[in-house]
Symmetry: C2
DNA sequence: TTCCTATCTTGTAATGGTTACAAGATTGAA
DNA sequence: TTCAATCTTGTAACCATTACAAGATAGGAA
């Protein structure tokens, strides 16, 4: 059975072409697209796709824990396929968001758990300048 | 000289009563208030304070690095006086945002620096349920 | 102190991303 | 195959944030 059909079934969501397309798109394109980008990219193959549907599907899939919405900046909704735990780096020059595949295994997390907080999610957002933009600066000298 | 006057001067910003009030309010009330809350609280002593001014001042002070805007959720602008590096815990039940005063000193940060990223900001957002809400659940049994 | 310009504050109006809603289409269980 | 629940779509409404212009203020210069 299709991987995405299976994911939706496991969560008790109805299988619709729109949900499958969006899920597949986000799995295959780990570029943290915003709503506009998802809509315009998928409209190419499905011209009747409505932006409201993109909002609805993103909402459903996020509630089902198949996606997460990044809040690394406050200007747009960035969508991220929910794979293994990972963190993010935002380059303030090119605005690209990079995945940091390694988890951080830090003392602070243990500490707050030991203090009695129940921690369900950990989001690490690192911001600065990426290698590619730093190189361009060097080159531009 | 007043501590807040000094902070503004150091950043080359003009000293205005509105800026001083907002800065003082955020320093003395580390509750991560949103714009509405700041406006309504400060309006009590200064009824002519405009919401536009709150937006403008928050913007100026953030650019001057005296404040930071939290992006722990995407529903509102939460303002935070910029003190020592610290991270945040959002309780998904009571919606309160707690400061985690300890910094995390993690391997991942060293790793991405060693890979050539220039890291200027590190934001750790932990989400779950706080002790107080967990206690209420127990009590409610 | 006084003057003057740059900047700040304020209220109103415009913007635009997101959500609400209703009608028609689709899904999937019976 | 049927049918109710639910999903998709387009339009309209919403409302937080931003743009703008007029009047007020801050603070350096004379």
């Amino acid at each position: 059975m299709d991987r995405y059909v299976e994911l939706l079934k496991k969560k008790g969501l109805k299988i619709t072409p729109q949900r499958l397309e969006i899920l597949r798109y986000l799995d295959e394109n780990r570029i943290h697209p915003n709503i506009e980008r998802i809509h315009s990219d998928l409209k190419k193959d499905n011209p009747s796709l409505s932006k409201t549907t993109v909002y609805n599907v993103i909402d459903d899939l996020t509630k089902a824990d198949l996606l997460q919405i990044l809040t690394i900046n406050r200007f747009e909704i960035l969508c991220d396929f929910k794979a293994d735990p990972h963190h993010h780096f935002l380059c303030k020059e090119c605005k690209k968001v990079y995945d940091l595949d390694e988890d951080f295994n830090c003392h602070l997390l243990e500490k707050i758990r030991s203090e009695g907080y129940q921690v369900d999610e950990v989001h690490g957002y690192f911001k600065g300048t990426c290698r590619s933009c730093l190189n361009k600066r060097e080159g531009g000298k």
